[in-house]
Symmetry: C2
Subunit: 328 residues, 2 copies
């Protein structure tokens, strides 16, 4: 009845007063935290600056005695340790986004403040890649064997444009949060966005038809490779996490991790290089097609060049990563 | 010399120890804040739930006396006040992003926690729209009178796809932070992304050529309209801010604001409706072209329908907004 409602509301109001107070306190704390963040960002810049000065002056020293030499080495070691401590601190503070993220998303705080959040975000990123990759593999299969509509082709190309565009955004966020993704992989996704964008504009000419099936075989193969890549990178992510919290009882050692990694990499690499040579083959086919007398569209040569650039960058970067890992 | 460097480093280490402690404290506070956020989110849900129950039971009451009627009205008023207080609190807490944002960006905390941040973000959004709009107006002008390359056309269409796609992301963020942008404007930008995407795939046929110039005139006109729209919405943003902090001495009243708004809107509306009828005209032209015997491409009819939908939604929504404002 009415009285029940009134007394219910009164009881709720009492609770609300407490809730409101708690929220006020929280907002105040929030503001203090902002102030503290700003101060720490300044301190961080100061420490980085001073460290750079000191290591510059160390580099100019010409040690005259072995004692001095040892001193310098010790200092340099300490500076390296300090730098990694400062990186750890930096990871707890918000960062200014790069130009691309600022342009697309505006000036937001995109920092993931804790290790758990960063892990989760990366995990989700890998999962996202897997899901879209599988969708695109299924679509390439269908477009190859079931449909032959330019409309479905366009939808597929648009999916790819959207996907790679999204990857560049997410990778920007990952890099802003301390991921060591090499610049090439990000560049790779920008170039692929461009390449798939060009494919979208390619009208349905005989030349388009001549390349169509090869492109779908390539996409399908890429889908399979990326599933393998997911297995490797996802495994690595979890192993690294377990390494980081070795106290939790999972018996994993650095050596165990390394042997696992090399086995995984050894399995993956042939497939990756298969993909890279497929890219080279695409570049070759397109280049020949662009010399075809029937070919009037600019897309053919542009795609040939883009595929070749992808091939080159992928081979160089992957070889570089493998060499670095073997050296360590 | 070496000793200077060593003693510099020592001094810096002392500072660093303090800095590290401060950071540790900050990380702890951060974690407390997260815990508090979670508790408050639960409280918020509880209060919203209880309020809904109480107002449901009030709605079922049949008042028998004028006294009861007054009581019910008073309670209902209090509930409305409470609801807006709860919204204020909700604005200080993080929110789960909608599906679209989660898909594109992953599960990030995109909440802008303070009024100042929200204001700044909105301000930047308006500015971003202005800049890209002016670029696109200049490009349409160039493509209309200077270049006639399909390549430049494609670049222009891609700029539009990217721009509208970006708008949908930013508007998602704005809405997640309490902006009252009507759903139609967001839908409008999804449809436009689709429409410009279709334009990208349109090969250079006679039909394309027949529509090309009209599209550039339209884009150019749209650019001009959007500059006017920027002036209005930017002005409104600042006036509303001033209204909110009336203590600061800017002498603005609600009445003054309303008269300013109606003058601005009165100036803007003819241009907006000009744009809407231009959209209708585009739909009409495209529809006729799609009946042309030379027309073999699906893009023509699809674009016609999209323009018509845009026209319809814009007219209905804008009329609705104007009616609502006049009523208030
Ligand atoms: C060669 C390869 C397997 C090595 O992977 P890896 O052992 O993780 O390499 P690194 O140690 O250099 O990784 C450093 C960081 O970059 C990330 N990374 C490496 N390659 C990446 C890629 N292709 N895309 C996105 N992120 C990548 C890693 O996850 C790691 O992130 P973290 O710092 O957040 O932990 C990996 O780079 C790869 O799969 N490359 C092939 C991609 C490709 O060619 N795709 C197209 C197929 S034709
Ligand atoms: C009609 C119009 C001028 C009314 O603007 P208004 O007075 O700000 O309208 P409202 O009071 O409904 O605004 C509510 C909110 O939505 C926002 N908003 C309104 N129209 C918007 C639009 N077209 N795009 C983005 N945001 C919009 C406002 O900024 C406000 O945001 P806030 O809650 O963060 O303060 C505006 O909607 C408009 O310019 N529409 C035309 C857009 C258009 O048709 N473009 C294509 C031209 S052909």
């Amino acid at each position: 009845s009415l009285d029940v409602a009134a007394s219910d509301f009164e009881a709720l109001t009492e609770e609300f007063t407490k809730f409101e107070e708690q929220n006020k306190l929280y907002v105040e704390q929030q503001e203090k935290i902002y102030a503290s963040q700003n101060k720490q960002l300044k301190d961080l810049a100061h420490h980085n600056y001073r460290l750079r000065q000191i290591s510059d002056s160390l580099r100019k020293q010409k040690p005259t005695s072995t004692e001095d030499k040892a001193k310098i080495e010790k200092l340099q070691e300490e500076i390296t340790t300090r730098k990694s401590q400062l990186t750890d601190i930096a990871n707890t503070l918000p960062r200014r986004n790069n130009l691309y993220l600022r342009t697309v998303l505006g000036d937001l705080n995109l920092s993931l403040m804790s290790k758990a959040q960063r892990f989760q975000y990366k995990d989700e990123y890998e999962h996202f890649k897997l899901v879209v990759t599988m969708i695109s593999a299924v679509l390439s299969f269908c477009n190859l064997f079931l449909f032959k509509y330019r409309f479905m082709d366009a939808a597929f190309h648009f999916l790819l444009v959207w996907y790679y565009c999204t990857l560049t955004i997410r990778e920007g966020i990952l890099r802003a949060n301390g991921s060591k993704i090499q610049a090439w992989w990000v560049a790779h996704h920008y170039i692929t966005t461009f390449l798939t964008g060009v494919l979208v504009t390619w009208p349905e000419t005989p030349i388009y038809q001549a390349f169509r099936n090869q492109f779908y075989y390539f996409s399908f193969y890429l889908g399979l490779v990326q599933v393998l890549q997911y297995r490797y990178q996802h495994g690595q992510l979890y192993k690294l996490k377990a390494l980081g919290e070795r106290s939790t009882g999972m018996d994993i050692t650095i050596e165990g991790f390394h042997s696992w990694m090399f086995r995984g990499l050894g399995f993956l690499l042939p497939f990756l290089f298969g993909g890279y040579f497929f890219q080279l083959y695409n570049a070759y086919t397109l280049w020949n097609l662009s010399k075809d007398p029937r070919c009037r569209e600019w897309q053919v040569a542009v795609c040939a060049v883009a595929f070749f650039v992808l091939f080159l960058g992928n081979v160089i970067t992957t070889l570089g990563i493998v060499l670095k890992k073997v050296h360590q």
